[in-house]
């Protein structure tokens, strides 16, 4: 009986490593008469990184029904994680993550110029049996407008995800994010990955649900959506310095928190140009962007919210380029 494990065994779910130097010559000249146990002398360490940059054009931003002007966004993101494999089913995840949203603003908008985060990644992956993979990560770091940084800028979102291998073609995913500073302190989202035909995959997994078509082993086309966002501390003079025009201010916004959300819909491609590196290029439309400014939810006091958004249909185009790798 020959195995038929050739099909999805080789789903390189991601990642790769240059083989040069690994093509070991065989030191076992024969099927030796004595059993020589290979010894794993060092802990395997997987590494992964992501670098992404995108530009979203100006979209008319409103406070209530009042137009404040066009707001554009340059988003950049870098992530690096090393995963030492402690045992067969247990890997640590240690790394850094940095994201920056840099906005071009109209002069009379009570909006931050920058929303940025620099944080550590501390977590683990755990296999539960042969069907369930768990991931839990803490992301302690600075999440703010990066003006007059102080202790209030510290936050530690928690992300927990689980995937259940229903079959080789169908997996169920559940993700939960906990961020006590956010307007939505606990968010749970389900997802599925379903390979419903040889070349088609429905990867309905937040924050990037996609319908994918694999042209060949190197090139995948996709269409889908992307949810960009985070929770950021504003500085203690933010409202004082960001009024609706000269001589005005919004001191009630000082030391507040901003939940930023940008929803993107578009299409793109992923090109695996080496076995361990891939280029991702996409573009589309941002139908909705929201700045939800409120006081910190820690303590759960009731505070009024201050929302600035664009109306659906009044969005802007975007373009995004990213490189991912794993070693």
């Amino acid at each position: 009986m020959k195995q038929s494990i050739r099909n999805t065994l080789l789903i390189a779910i991601l990642g790769s490593l240059l083989l040069t130097g690994l093509r070991a010559d065989d030191s076992k000249d024969e099927i030796a008469p004595t059993v020589a146990a290979p010894i794993e002398e060092s802990t395997p360490v997987a590494q992964e990184f992501t670098m992404e940059g995108s530009y979203t054009g100006k979209s008319m931003t409103k406070q209530g029904s009042a137009d404040l002007g066009g707001v554009a966004n340059i988003n950049s993101h870098f992530n690096y994680v090393a995963s030492p494999q402690i045992s067969d089913g247990f890997l640590l995840r240690l790394g850094i993550d940095s994201e920056r949203n840099s906005f071009s603003l109209p002069s009379a908008a009570p909006l931050p110029n920058t929303l940025q985060s620099v944080n550590a990644v501390i977590g683990a992956d755990l296999a539960l049996g042969d069907k369930i993979l768990l991931r839990a990560e803490l992301h302690p770091g600075i999440y703010s407008d990066f003006v007059n940084i102080n202790g209030n800028d510290f936050d530690m979102p928690v992300q927990i995800g689980a995937s259940y291998l229903w079959s080789k073609d169908f997996q169920i995913i559940l993700g939960v994010q906990i961020d006590l500073k956010s307007d939505l302190p606990i968010i749970g989202l389900p997802g599925v990955r379903w390979q419903f035909a040889d070349k088609w995959v429905l990867s309905a997994i937040p924050p990037r649900p996609q319908l994918q078509y694999e042209v060949n082993n190197s090139l995948t086309l996709y269409t889908g959506a992307e949810l960009l966002g985070g929770t950021y501390q504003l500085n203690d003079a933010f409202g004082t310095n960001h009024g609706h025009g000269p001589g005005t201010n919004n001191t009630q916004l000082n030391n507040n928190v901003c939940d930023f959300t940008e929803i993107r819909v578009g299409a793109g491609f992923t090109w695996k140009f080496t076995p361990n590196l891939s280029l991702d290029v996409s573009g589309g439309y941002v139908p909705y962007r929201l700045f939800d400014i409120h006081s910190s939810r820690i303590g759960f006091e009731n505070q009024s919210e201050f929302e600035l958004h664009n109306n659906i249909g009044n969005g802007a185009p975007y373009g995004e380029v990213g490189i991912r790798g794993s070693f």
Partner: protein, 339 residues
């Protein structure tokens, strides 16, 4: 509350029929990843599986499975030799044919009647456009040169002729103990199938110890005198799908039987793309469950492939889980034909 005094008795009677055997089974399986085996559950259709875990071979991935077939060991042994997976469409094996002991290149004629699908078309295209400077097929330098020369000279489609020669040469070298001289020339180095097989077989010393005697009688052992080599129970070639592209493979099955158990080793020593080599090791024991003569099958799948080296951390873990699913599909298809 009314009790059901007969229920525990019925369960106890059922257990009694397997308990004496169970102790032996656990002893027999001491080399494997399985302990405290529940034969009753296996007889009910459960396939017990285990990922191979961390092994000291970057391009290798392994798994173990344990299941029961409702048939006698001799039937299962024969089925391991004669099973044709191409009748199960979900396994994506386009062609599987046994070869006679004295084969010739005309015995590969099945390559001329492959299904017309995108997977096979990709293989035909890769053959017709083969570029030795950027090889998309796993060939030696000499095979690549032969393919290029044939393509340049051929008036008719050279697909069957070229692959018949390549497979014939690979089989001949394997059977004559010359697998060590075989190579795959890749753009970033050279792969030796024998080295891949040895690394896989040595990955778990307990499994290697269990199969050492059988493997030492195969051409894998350098210096084995031809007269002391075991004759293969089957020589075969096949065409199957790897990630949307068909690959041509060839291998040999070796078996050894004792009154207590049967061992089988399926060594696929050549594959044209996507996979370097594979080995499937099976061991069969007779078991009696509820008065029926059945077969307990332990199976190990050992695979070396280029993409596996690029899987790390959680990706590798997930791939191991997917591998178990695929092996399980194959086992269920196999078992359905045995009983």
């Amino acid at each position: 509350m009314k009790s059901f005094p007969f229920l525990p008795l019925a369960l106890g009677a059922s257990l009694l029929t397997v308990l004496p055997l169970q102790a032996d089974v656990n002893s027999d399986l001491a080399f494997s990843a399985f302990s405290n085996v529940d034969l009753q559950a296996l007889a009910g259709g459960t396939v017990q599986q285990s990922r191979g875990g961390l092994i000291n071979f970057q391009r290798g991935i392994t798994s173990q499975s344990l299941y029961v077939v409702n048939a006698a060991p001799a039937v299962v042994q024969s089925k391991l030799i004669h099973w044709n997976q191409s009748s199960h469409s979900n396994l994506k094996v386009w062609l599987h044919q046994s070869l006679p002991q004295q084969w010739t290149t005309t015995d590969f004629a099945g390559l001329g009647s492959l299904p017309d699908n995108s997977s096979v078309k990709a293989l035909r295209d890769a053959t017709a456009k083969f570029d030795p400077s950027n090889p998309s097929l796993q060939l030696s330098k000499e095979e690549g040169q032969m393919l290029v020369t044939t393509l340049a000279a051929a008036g008719a489609d050279p697909f069957v002729g070229v692959w018949s020669q390549i497979l014939s040469g690979r089989i001949s070298n394997f059977l004559n103990g010359r697998l060590g001289s075989e190579t795959y020339v890749q753009s970033d180095g050279t792969i030796q199938p024998l080295s891949e097989l040895k690394n896989l077989l040595h990955a778990d010393p307990r499994i290697y110890g269990q199969y050492q005697h059988l493997l030492n009688q195969t051409p894998l052992k350098a210096g084995t005198v031809a007269t002391t080599r075991l004759a293969p129970a089957d020589l075969y070639y096949e065409v199957f799908d790897v990630q949307g592209e068909a690959a041509i493979g060839t291998g040999a099955i070796y078996q050894a039987a004792s009154p207590a158990t049967i061992q089988s080793a399926d060594i696929e020593f050549y594959d044209s793309c996507g996979i370097y080599v594979t080995a499937e090791l099976d061991q069969l024991w007779p078991v009696t469950i509820d008065g029926r003569n059945e077969t307990l099958v332990w199976r190990a799948d050992l695979v070396s492939a280029p993409n596996i080296a690029y899987l790390h951390g959680t990706e590798r873990l997930a791939s191991g889980m997917v591998m178990l699913e695929e092996v399980k599909d194959a086992i269920e298809a196999f078992r359905s034909e045995c009983q």
